[in-house]
Symmetry: C3
Subunit: 179 residues, 3 copies
């Protein structure tokens, strides 16, 4: 028997449709590194992750360096917005004023009130939504060692692992972001 | 009919070459989140996106949080460089000096003159090149609500969407970056 | 000859196994943009890259903007931690204190001692490990032009290229991160 041109064409079509199916059937995945511990930079990983979870995209957030604060229950209710060195602040204040005591608290209060006004959930609520919707929150082992943070300092439902385990996960992700 | 070993071999080769072709024919895609509104961090998404467009890589920039300023026509001509809290500034100045009035403007002027000297286009020019070369610039709906920014405040040719629509796009991208 | 249902099934299986093999045979790859030149943000790209190399994931770091300092041998022994504008600093100090002369040096010294205490290698050691384990360190040509940095100012074993060459590499990467 020999494979005819028609067979060949049919086989090629079959390959194409099967490939599309295989690629679209695969569960999509997002891997985020959260390295910042300020209030303004705690929102993006949590908003992206909870949105992804609602779209049935599997998601993990690796909380490292200052980003560990986001899942540290002693700290995550008090994440703050820097009041200086960001000329893109919506309400622009000179750095010399931004450096004054109380200005960090004021910038933080302002951001919280803006977010609440348009019904963006608080960091605490976003963390609850994340855990409930299956987002994996991961504490970076090395950061915990450096900062002297223990597993029991972290919120419930969190895992702890190293960079290698996270990279193992991220290498098969469709979206990878370093925040 | 039964497929002989030779047929199978031929079919395997056919499948492999077709698969490779399908995978490499696919148009490449980059999805960038621009979250910073300082002049120094406005360059990277625009330089990467316009370079990608010239290489026939499809590209979208999702402008969120402070990054919305980059496409806000009331603000994007005045993006500034923070003059303190960045010990990696090319001209190192003590923070106590960097906090003085006028230093943000000076740091901004210096960066603009360095960029111009080696013919890096201005942010305004990069935005024009981006739009002309098919880079999709997207305003984040939530940020617009939070900041009270309207569609008409944004430059021409911009789309507005939420995080979900952006993730839908990013999940099929080959390069995903959070700036 | 006509392709029977059984043949079709066989071909679909073939596509699936062939695709899996193609995807798993391919060497995994990570592409990182390092855009920050502070000590705290120099660690993540180097820790991730050296970890990846140990897992047989191919890795390149494109050092651009302030991130060029990481591979600049005149500067990379003196990378510093900003002592203000980061309310997530482990030892919280008011910005007005953080702005005082000497505070950047103190914050830097503190971070170095924390890292050393749990045996995190220094930036210098991480760079050596990176080069030895095959991580490609790349200086951004445009940044070098802007800052007046020459190839001989960079550490040994570094390449120099533009954004286009880096994107060419990144478009086939499994993990892409902008630090």
């Amino acid at each position: 028997m020999s494979i005819t041109d028609k067979d060949r064409e049919m086989i090629e079509e079959l390959v194409e449709s099967k490939l599309k199916k295989l690629l679209s059937d695969r569960k999509k995945r997002m891997a985020i590194v959260a390295s910042k511990g300020t209030l303004d930079m705690a929102y993006p990983p949590l908003i992206l992750a909870t949105t992804a979870a609602a779209m049935d995209i599997e998601c993990s957030i690796f909380c490292t360096f200052y980003g560990l604060d986001i899942i540290n229950k002693k700290k995550n209710k008090n994440l703050q917005v820097p009041s200086l060195a960001n000329p893109a602040m919506p309400v622009s204040i000179p750095n010399i004023i931004g450096a004054l005591p109380g200005m960090t608290a004021m910038a933080t209060m302002m951001m919280k009130s803006w977010m609440a006004k348009v019904n963006v959930p608080s960091i605490e609520d976003l963390l609850n939504i994340a855990v409930e919707s299956g987002v994996k929150l991961i504490g970076c082992q090395m950061t915990m060692d450096v900062m002297g943070v223990k597993k029991e300092d972290l919120i419930d439902g969190v895992e702890v692992c190293g960079a290698a385990a996270f990279l193992e996960y991220a290498v098969d992700a469709d979206i990878t972001l370093f925040v």
